[in-house]
């Protein structure tokens, strides 16, 4: 079951930038592209865990700030000849608000 959770306004993220959402299972990077699309992926590069939220965003891809691996934001897969992938999370924008599917992210909730 999806659990759409309001995590903020689209305007809170700069275009071609990212912000982070903290979860019990680690940080998630939420990206906004130049065309106002929004994507969520784990904020840890498959190479050596670099914070993807700090990378340069171009088109629908981000370049990892530590060693320049290029990852697609929609699939989480490395681009070109590189290997590796990062988990993606369902996310939508409705009426200017960003909704993240938190269903998989609340494990560890204190009952």
């Amino acid at each position: 079951m999806t659990d759409w959770t309001d995590i903020g306004a689209l305007e809170d993220i700069p275009r071609r930038g990212a912000r982070v959402v903290r979860t019990r299972l680690g940080c998630i990077a939420v990206f906004r592209t130049v065309d106002d699309e929004v994507f969520a992926v784990d904020d840890a590069c498959p190479h050596k865990g670099g914070p993807l939220s700090e990378g340069i965003v171009h088109g629908r891809a981000v370049t990892c700030p530590l060693h320049n691996l290029v990852l697609r934001l929609d699939t989480g897969k490395a681009q070109g000849a590189d290997e590796g992938a990062v988990a993606t999370h369902p996310i939508v924008v409705e009426g200017g608000r960003i909704l993240l599917d938190a269903s998989g992210l609340r494990r560890g909730r204190v009952a």
Binding site: R22, C27, V34, E54
Partner: protein, 814 residues
Amino acid sequence: MAKNLIVIGAGMASGRMLEHLLEDQAGDWNITLFNAEPRGNYNRLMLSPVLSGEKTYDEIVTHDAAWYERHGVTCRFGERVLRIDRDRRIVEGENGALPYDRLVIATGSNPFMIPLPGHDLEGVIPYRDLEDTERMMALENRPDARAVVIGGGLLGLEAAAGMKARGIDVTVVHVMGHLMERQLDEAAGYLLRKALEGRGIKVLTSANSKEILGRDGYVRALLLDDGTSIPCDLLVMAVGIRPNVALAQAAGLAVGRGIHVDDAMVTSDPSILAVGECVEHQGAVFGLVAPLYDQARVAAETLGERPANFVAKELATKLKVTGCDLFSAGDFAEGEGREDIVFRDPARGVYKRLVLEGERLVGAVMYGETGDGTWFHGLIQDRTDVSGMRETLIFGPAFQGGAPADPLAAVAALPADAEICGCNGVCKSRIVEAIRDGADTLSEVRARTKASASCGTCTGLVEQVMALTLGDDFQAPTVQPMCPCTPLTHMDVRRLIRSRGLKSMAAVMQECGWSTSCGCASCRPALNYYLLCDWPGEYRDDDQSRFVNERMHSNIQKDGTYSVVPRMWGGITTADELRAIADAADKYRVQTVKVTGGQRIDLLGVKKQDLPDIWADLNAAGMVSGQAYAKGLRTVKTCVGTDHCRFGTQDSTGLGIRMEKALWGAWTPAKVKMAVSGCPRNCAESTCKDVGVVCVDSGYVLHVGGAAGLHIRGTVILCTLKTEDEVLEHTAAVVQLYREEAAYLERMYKWLDNVGLEHVTERVVTDAESREALAARFYHAQRFMQTDPWAERTRPEYRRLYAPLADLTLEAAE
């Protein structure tokens, strides 16, 4: 017996509906048409040509008094409907009530007015009807009239273009980064802006309106949140529309963003229909006229008890901002499995971008040449398989079916007098002649004919002429392009930025024919630097095009934490500064405190969200960012010099501090490090720095081009100088020359290898005028560069960017 039909609103949608209705149901209805505006149906789209003076109001009336008369429509114009009583099936107008059998609501939409302070001043108007248009036209009669338009969308630009055509001074203020961002991508937005500015319209983007200022109840100026105030006699707000649902809502009909209708255009009350911008159909609301016409037809059928369904279609916008040729259709976001085909013709100001998904075209944006727009729109709507014509698709229908174009064949077909190089007016035959006379390299051709010697955009064409003339003997030079987005080199691009006056990233990408729509991680930081260097005070730094260290003003560590290095001018610190650093280290639980190789202190392992606070604390103690992350001035190391050392010949510490204070903040192609040693023993290691000073009895020896990193390079001596002031002037000049000439990421010694010491000596030492001019340009740029990024980023609007967007761990723990 004829039934009573009441229509509320005489707009574009209801006008069309009445026409359909009267075609074959004329005898079935007693029609009464209410309209709040004191007139009947006219073509609202054509208000813009009325505004610009190309048409008169009479020419845009679609239904005149005779038409209503002929068709027996009772007109109650200038009369607002106040209430709908659904139980009694009565409509109450300002001049009395009337019963209906069927009712059609076509009340259109209301312009949205941003509730800025002062929005209710006299002279603040929307752009919706003839009255608004006339208010704008009236401005023409005032000498030196000025207008401001808030909103850089379709409507705002039409208002601006129309007023400008009447000679009114107009400024458009748009909150987004480029004009018409909903229909156009950045590149097309850039071309549109250029065209409007060419006509004298001022355009401000990324501009936030703060307040409307007035005098005696009348608008006087618009104030932006950066403090700019734009004087105006009229302020037009064109920022969007809201469906006009008030009547329907008060009558208890189902209403969301608009009045809910089903596929037959019937509202939640079976005897009431709605059409036009006031409706919401399957979650969608409407703002362009094409779908409204479909709704009008469906509503007429429904009234005639015939089944009909409204289907919303993929919309194309063929935009009619007077004199600008724009087209956009479909969806042009990038995506997995999506591919861009970009065509740019900088000389003619043409930009076309097609977005393909698999075998299908899903989006198209065009500027400057839109003749094929309808064809592309058709391909999108029909979901045509375009895989067979991929190669030539962007050239439009005329090119389909033929053999794919061979670029050489196209050049071969050019007549002898065809102009190849526009800048220098060189035609094909002159290039061919030069080649026949023995010019067999590009630089030879350049030297003899000047072709491609100025802006360089025709280099490819010149090479093709050479390939044709020389045949197999021609080898295209292997130049290293800047990145995969362009065949141009860094130097080509720098030259073009200056010679063509390109002042934004979108401008560079368009005028230099970039093959991608928004660049990549290697060209964007380089372009950002070039623009910043060449247009100080004009170009606005783009954070999103900076590598993380420069965006965050901190070095990122392998674990994602950051390091914080305050400046210590010339390596000098005080007990108070050290105490503040120690306090900060305790307060923010700094993992490691280290003395750097650059004579200052590094606080390592600070968490991102703590950065603004630790900076604020260090700022409060008088320290600023050491910019240990910057492609800019890092450190000026010094030794103790005459102050303490028995060998010291000059005040090396004092000079180092002066140099650091003069040069900090400057962005450079790669990092720049300096040092001043008090004597040739060289304790500050001046001879392996980008700029080093070695003091001697008679003055100062200025060294350049050293490094001790990946490559160890000793400096070369540039000159010997008498005074500190001379050292400062020469240093500023050499750094400026390097800033202007080097490729991004090229350290000073590499640039020196490329241009030669002689060139630098000539420009900086021998030619005093050149040196002064370089230094003056450097200090001019410093006026904009020397702001402490820490102080800037501890302000609230920046601060939030350092905090997580949301924290689901807290929520989970509840």
